[in-house]
């Protein structure tokens, strides 16, 4: 792999950018691999990268039914944070935040990590108390968190509604300074290029349609491009997890739901933070192109369609305008949706299974983008060593049996209201 640098940029500019190397090969599938990763989203790509990099397992294929970056990894609102309440989540996501800091250097690919603060706004005394408790929990786990008050917030986002007749006045916020955004396609492309360079075969337009299992052991997969042998499979298909599990006669504590997001027309720099509205569910940041990137609730009914309906968009934008009245003058440029693997306690599952050689990575709900590096790291460890890493040890499947749920949101099993 030729390194990207200012010199390669100058050199290629001189030849009118006609001679760049392809970022990854387009190989034919081999007959057999040591490990097969199903799903070329962020998690599948990162897992393959760390299998090769940290465990020297390079005879690996990623099978992707569409194209790299076409799933949720290219559809999310790119928010990165580790501002959780429970230790398991704090420790796991904070390790991820540490990885984001060096990811561009690690991959020699600019993922545009921008630690620009995440502000979770509070609109009541009770919410301020809850946020101070959460902030303390973060600080006990070594994660910087600050409690801000109304006057502080006025200086940071003066264009928010601070009027006296505001329905949900801003009381303050919990701030995580390291929270921010990264460029989602660059993350997919950077991991793909890095994995390919270490020998991983990235095979696109290759849908897995079935599994070969013998005596409770994985023997291979059936795909739209023929059968491929392997002893180990890492399942990283996000919203499609239940569909593939069904082919193995497995039912999972997961429901598929559609989450939409939208962007406005681009405007000059306005918002240099990630802001969440605490009196409903609305989150917002501004992209480098100038678009306001906005999201909120799930549509709220089981769905495998990568599109939703207008009432949710209207609801989300009503909250947006309640927070930032000046948004009302903007036009929406586009909306889209992705299928979320909603787990029954809103926390992920990274584990081995009762089938020898089948490993599970799912249940990311709508927070899996920020976990991409650490999910890849711990899942690669789980696959290579056939045992969980200490960071994903709490995220095992049997917690739905033992009762050790990580129900950060405390909403019970109605995944669609989270």
């Amino acid at each position: 792999m030729k390194k990207y640098s200012v010199f390669s940029l100058i050199k290629n500019a001189l030849s009118h950018h006609q001679n760049w190397d392809v970022a990854w090969r387009d190989p034919e599938p081999k007959k057999e691999y040591e490990v097969i990763i199903i799903g070329g989203g962020g998690h599948g790509l990162a897992t393959a990268y760390y299998l090769a990099k940290n465990f020297n397992i390079r005879n690996v294929a990623i099978l992707e039914k569409g194209w790299i970056g076409g799933g949720n990894v290219g559809r999310n609102t790119t928010i990165l944070r580790s501002n959780y309440m429970y230790n398991a989540n704090n420790l796991f996501y904070e390790e991820g935040m540490k990885m984001w800091r060096n990811l561009s250097q690690e991959l020699n690919y600019n993922v545009m990590y921008s630690p620009r603060n995440i502000l979770n706004l509070a609109h009541s005394d009770a919410q301020m108390n809850a946020y101070s408790r959460r902030g303390n929990s973060m600080r006990l786990n070594g994660i910087d968190a600050q409690l801000l008050y109304r006057e502080d917030i006025k200086k940071i986002i003066p264009f928010a509604d601070f009027s006296s007749n505001c329905r949900f006045p801003i009381f303050g916020a919990l701030r995580q300074p390291a929270g921010g955004t990264a460029r989602h396609d660059a993350v997919a492309w950077g991991y793909a290029r890095g994995a390919d360079d270490l020998g991983v075969d990235i095979i696109q337009n290759c849908e897995v349609t079935g599994f070969d299992v013998n005596n409770g052991k994985i023997q291979g997969v059936q795909t739209s491009r023929g059968n491929i042998k392997t002893k180990k499979i890492g399942l990283c298909v996000a919203g499609s997890t239940s569909l593939l599990a069904e082919k193995l006669n497995m039912t999972l504590p997961i429901e598929a739901h559609v989450l939409q997001a939208c962007v406005s027309e681009p405007i000059k720099p306005l918002l240099d933070q990630v802001v969440t509205f605490g009196a409903g569910h609305f989150y917002c940041s501004q992209s480098d192109k100038g678009e306001m990137v906005m999201g909120g609730d799930l549509d709220g009914y089981n769905s495998y369609a990568q599109r939703g309906n207008l009432p949710t968009i209207q609801h989300v934008l009503t909250e947006g305008v309640a927070l930032f009245p000046n948004l009302s003058r903007l036009k929406i440029l586009r909306t889209w949706g992705g299928i979320m693997d909603m787990s029954m306690d809103t926390s992920p599952i990274i584990d081995k299974t009762h089938i020898d050689g089948l490993y599970l990575n799912c249940g990311w709900c709508y927070g899996g983008f920020k976990a991409t590096p650490v999910s890849g790291l711990t899942f690669a460890h789980t696959i290579a060593k056939d045992e969980v890493h200490e960071l994903n040890a709490p995220f095992r499947l049997d917690r739905f049996h033992t009762g050790h749920l990580i129900d950060e949101k405390g909403i019970g099993t109605k995944t669609w209201i989270s």
């Binding site: 239940s242 039912t251 997961i254 429901e255 089981n302 369609a305 109605k414």
Partner: protein
């Protein structure tokens, strides 16, 4: 915008309804010894099909009745709706 036919009120906009999840999960019978696995399955595990799905809806901003809908999760087409007491088996 989904248009949902409440069995009692007729076709209304999605805005009037709240979702209630998979209508095929069955609570274990209480007059026998229920193994933990059966409870786990009832509480947490879902078939989560791509295609027809039998599910609960609540006409919360209307007549406030619960009912069942057979809806395609891949296309969002609502095939039919039923009163809760209608026994129509599973969705497929």
């Amino acid at each position: 915008m989904l248009e949902i036919k409440c069995p009692y009120c007729g076709k209304r906009s999605q805005n009037e309804f709240a979702y209630g999840g998979d209508a095929t999960v069955k609570r274990p019978e209480l007059n026998k010894e229920v193994p933990d696995e059966e409870w786990d399955t009832f509480v947490y595990y879902r078939k989560n099909p791509r295609g027809n799905h039998l599910e609960l809806w609540h006409h919360i901003s209307g007549c406030r009745q619960w009912f069942k809908a057979k809806r395609n999760t891949a296309t969002h087409e609502i095939i039919d709706t039923f009163e809760l007491s209608d026994d129509i088996g599973d969705a497929s």
